[in-house]
C-alpha cells in the first residue's frame, strides 16, 4: 500500500493507534533515544542518530527469564516470565537499524528459537524513515548492501517529501497499521512518485564514507588470526563496552540470578547484555582467559562481524550505522581498521 500523509495529519495517525504501545525517537537534552510515547508531539522525526538503536526495545538490556521462590519445606516455585502480549509500533526506525534486526533474527531464530526475542519481534511493527540526509557523519550503509531507503526488516517505510510523508507498507502488519487510520491517508500523485524516486536516489549520494571490496577483506581476515596487526590497532582501545552496546547487531548476553531475599529464597533469573570487550566475557572458572587482552578482543569484534558471521549466516554482521565510530572515546574507526586490513602486508 502506498499513500501520502501530511505532516500535519501525522499525529492523528498515532492518536488512532490506541491498541498499540507507541515508541519513537525523543529528544532529551542533546541526544535522541527511542522511548515509549504517550503524546505524539513528543515524537521527533527530525532526528540525528539515536544513541541506542531500536534493538533495545526488541532485545532489552534486561529481560526477566523466570521468577523463583523457594520456601522452606516446599518445592521451589518457578514461573516463566515471557514478555507481555502487547502490540508495539516503533516509528522513525532507520533503515540500517531495521536491517540489523534481520541479522539478529537469524541468530535468535535458530532452533529452538528464542521465545523472548521472537515474541517481542513478532508483536512489533517497524515504521522506517528514509534518511534523506545522513543522520551521522559516519554512516556507511551503502558499503554493506544497505541504503538510506532500504526496506529490509521494515513493515512500513516513510519518506519525507517537504511537508508530507510518502508512506509505503509492504507487510500485513504494516497495512493493518495504516488501516487503523485510513482517513488520514491520501493517494499519491504521479509527481509524488517521481519525487520519491528523486529523494531516494539523492539520499544514496549523500553517504560519504565507504568500505570498498569487502569480500576481499573477509578473505584476508581468515589468515589474520595470529597477526600482530591487532596489537597495533588496539593500542588505544580502552576495553569499554560502547562499540558493542551501541551496535544494532551485537546480541551477546549473560544470564544471572538476582536474589531479592535469601530466606525464603526469592528472586529472578535475568538476561542482560554482555560484550566481548569485557575481560570476564571469556573468563573460565579455572581462571584461564582465552581472550586475555584488548588485541584479542578487538580481533574478536572485527572477525565476528566480517568473518565468522559471514561463514555462519552468509551476511556481514554490520549495517553501517556508524555508532561505534562516532562514540568511541579514542577514535577507533571500524572503517579505517577494515581498510588497513586490506592493505596489510
Amino acid at each position: 500500500m502506498e499513500k501520502i500523509l501530511t505532516k500535519k495529519e501525522f499525529p492523528s495517525w498515532i492518536k488512532n493507534l490506541k491498541s498499540f504501545n507507541v515508541y519513537g525517537p525523543v529528544k532529551k537534552d542533546a541526544l535522541w533515544e527511542y522511548e515509549r510515547i504517550q503524546d505524539p508531539d513528543k515524537l521527533d522525526l527530525n532526528f540525528k542518530n539515536t544513541v541506542l538503536s531500536p534493538k533495545k526495545i526488541i532485545f532489552p538490556q534486561r529481560e526477566v527469564i523466570l521468577d523463583f521462590n523457594h520456601k522452606k519445606k516446599g518445592k521451589p516455585e518457578i514461573q516463566e516470565a515471557l514478555p507481555e502480549e502487547t502490540k508495539n509500533v516503533i516509528f522513525g526506525v532507520r533503515p540500517c537499524d531495521a536491517r540489523a534486526l534481520t541479522l539478529t533474527d537469524k541468530v535468535f531464530e535458530e532452533e529452538p528459537g528464542d521465545k523472548y526475542y521472537l515474541r517481542r519481534r513478532h508483536q512489533t511493527v517497524t515504521v522506517g524513515l528514509t534518511c534523506s540526509d545522513p543522520p551521522s557523519e559516519n554512516c556507511f550503509c551503502t558499503s554493506l548492501g544497505g541504503s538510506p531507503h532500504s526496506t529490509e526488516g521494515l513493515d512500513i517505510l516513510m519518506t519525507e517529501l517537504n511537508h508530507k510523508y510518502y508512506v509505503h507498507s509492504f507487510t500485513d502488519k504494516g497495512r493493518e497499521l495504516m488501516k487503523a487510520a485510513s482517513d488520514v491517508f491520501k493517494n499519491p500523485s504521479e509527481k509524488d512518485k517521481k519525487d520519491l524516486k528523486q529523494v531516494h536516489k539523492e539520499s544514496e549520494k549523500k553517504i560519504k564514507r565507504q568500505v570498498k571490496e569487502l569480500s576481499k577483506i573477509t578473505d584476508k581476515l581468515k589468515g589474520m588470526f595470529d597477526s600482530p596487526f591487532w596489537d597495533e590497532e588496539s593500542m588505544s582501545c580502552l576495553k569499554c563496552g560502547i562499540c558493542t552496546y551501541l551496535c544494532p547487531t551485537c546480541h551477546c548476553f549473560d544470564i544471572s540470578d538476582e536474589v531479592l531475599s535469601s530466606s525464603p529464597l526469592k528472586g529472578q533469573r535475568v538476561r542482560t547484555w554482555d560484550t566481548c570487550q569485557f575481560p570476564y566475557f571469556t573468563m573460565h572458572s579455572s581462571g584461564h582467559n582465552p581472550r586475555p587482552d584488548k588485541s584479542s578482543r578487538l580481533r574478536q569484534r572485527i572477525l565476528h562481524k566480517f568473518s565468522y558471521f559471514v561463514d555462519n549466516y552468509d551476511d556481514y554482521q554490520c549495517t553501517g550505522c556508524g555508532r561505534c565510530i562516532s562514540k568511541c572515546p579514542v577514535d577507533i574507526d571500524i572503517i579505517e581498521v577494515l581498510e588497513k586490513v586490506k592493505d596489510y602486508e
Binding site: L31, V51, L238, G241, L246, S262, D331
Partner: protein, 343 residues
C-alpha cells in the same frame, strides 16, 4: 607558546637514544573532531605528534595499560614510556606514583602547558553550530577554531568552547615533568567549583530528581571506568565475580556469593555503581573529565567527582596530585579533622 616542532624534536631525540620504549602523544583524528592517541616507536614518525586544544584525552591511562601488560610478560621491556601530558594529566601521574602503582622512573614526561587556554568541549562546539554537521575542525592562529560545515567555515574562539574543567582548572601546567614546553603562566580561577554550585544549592528532593533522571540513562558500558587512569584495579567490585571458585566450592556457596551490584541497568544498581566509582576516586580524581567525555549517554559524571574534590579541599585541606611524597587522602588523617557530624 608551545612549539610543536620542539616537542617533536625532543620526542625524536629520546626515541633515537633509546631512552624510552615508545612515546604516547596526540595526532590528528581521522573522522572525529578531536585528536587521537598515537603510539610512536620510531624516531622518524614523530612528525605525527600534534598539540592544540583538541588534544582532550588523558593519555596516562595508557601508562596504566602498559604497566599491567608488563606484569603479564616474562621478560618485559622495563625502559620508561615517553608520554605527552597536560597539567591535569601530570597530576594523574603524580597520584599513580604516590600510590606506588608506578615509579617515577617508569615515565619520561613531556609536559605541555595549556597557558591561557585548555581543551575544547565537543558538546559545546556542537551547540554553537545548532545541529549542523561538522566536516572539519582546524586550530588556527590567535586561539580560534575554524569549523567547516556544509554552510562554509565558521570561526569560533577557543575560549567560548573550553571544557568546563578547564574553566575551573587550578593548575594548567604540568606539576611533574622531564621536559616542559610552554610557559608556567598564572591565571586566576574565580570559581573553582562552579559546575557543582547549582546542584549544591538545590533542595535534596531536586538533587535526587536530577540524579535519578541522569543515572537512569546509564547503560553500564563502563566506559567511565575504562577510561579513568585511576581505575587500575585488577578486579572491580562492579564485576562482582570476585570470589575464588575452587573444586570444593559448592553450588550453594556460588549462589550466595556476595554481589555488590547486579548487572541489570536498574536505577538502584546504576546508583550503586556510580557511588562506588565516585567514592573510590575521592582524593584521587584529578578532574581530567574523561569519564564525562566518554559517556555515550551524557551523564554529568564529573560533578560527582568534583563534589568530593571540593570536600577533600574544604574539609581536609587536601588537593589532589600536587605532591607525590605526601600520603594520600584516605590513608592519612589529622587530629583536627572535622567531626561535627559525629555524635
Amino acid at each position: 607558546m608551545v612549539e610543536m616542532e620542539q616537542l617533536q624534536k625532543e620526542a625524536k631525540e629520546i626515541l633515537k637514544q633509546g631512552k624510552v620504549k615508545f612515546v604516547i602523544g596526540y595526532s590528528k583524528g581521522s573522522q572525529n573532531l578531536t585528536a587521537t592517541p598515537v603510539f610512536i616507536k620510531k624516531p622518524e614518525h614523530t612528525s605525527r605528534l600534534i598539540w592544540d586544544p583538541t588534544c582532550v584525552q588523558n593519555l596516562v591511562k595508557f601508562i596504566v595499560d602498559d604497566k599491567q601488560k608488563q606484569s603479564r610478560e616474562k621478560k618485559p621491556d622495563e625502559r620508561p614510556v615517553g608520554i605527552v601530558v597536560k597539567g591535569c594529566d601530570s597530576r594523574a601521574i603524580n597520584v599513580l606514583i604516590q600510590e606506588k602503582f608506578i615509579d617515577r622512573d617508569d615515565v619520561y614526561i613531556l609536559g605541555l602547558s595549556c597557558e591561557e587556554l585548555g581543551v575544547v568541549d565537543e558538546k559545546k562546539i556542537a551547540q554553537k553550530l545548532e545541529g549542523k554537521k561538522i566536516e572539519k575542525i582546524e586550530f588556527a592562529k590567535k586561539n580560534n577554531l575554524i569549523v567547516s560545515t556544509k554552510d562554509g567555515e565558521k570561526k569560533i574562539p577557543v575560549k567560548d568552547v573550553l571544557a568546563d574543567r578547564c574553566l575551573e582548572c587550578k593548575a594548567h601546567f604540568p606539576v611533574i615533568y622531564d621536559q616542559l614546553f610552554g610557559e608556567e603562566t598564572e591565571r586566576e580561577v574565580k570559581e573553582p567549583y562552579k559546575s557543582i554550585k547549582k546542584t549544591e544549592s538545590q533542595s535534596p528532593k531536586k538533587r535526587w530528581d536530577f540524579w535519578k533522571e541522569q543515572l537512569e540513562k546509564c547503560i553500564r558500558c563502563y566506559a567511565c571506568r575504562s577510561i579513568c587512569p585511576m581505575c587500575y584495579c585488577d578486579e572491580c567490585v562492579a564485576d562482582s565475580i570476585n570470589m575464588a571458585v575452587t573444586a570444593e566450592t559448592t553450588a550453594e556457596e556460588k549462589a550466595q556469593k556476595i554481589k555488590w551490584i547486579e548487572r541489570s541497568p536498574a536505577l538502584s544498581e546504576n546508583i550503586g555503581y556510580h557511588l562506588i566509582r565516585a567514592i573510590h576516586l575521592a582524593g584521587r580524581c584529578i578532574d581530567c573529565g574523561e569519564c564525562e567525555r566518554a559517556c555515550p549517554v551524557d551523564i554529568p559524571l564529573r560533578l560527582l567527582n568534583k563534589k568530593l574534590e571540593k570536600a577533600a579541599h574544604e574539609l581536609f585541606d587536601y588537593d589532589v596530585g600536587f605532591d607525590h611524597k605526601k600520603p594520600s587522602l584516605i590513608s592519612s588523617f589529622k587530629d583536627e579533622d572535622p567531626e561535627d557530624f559525629i555524635r
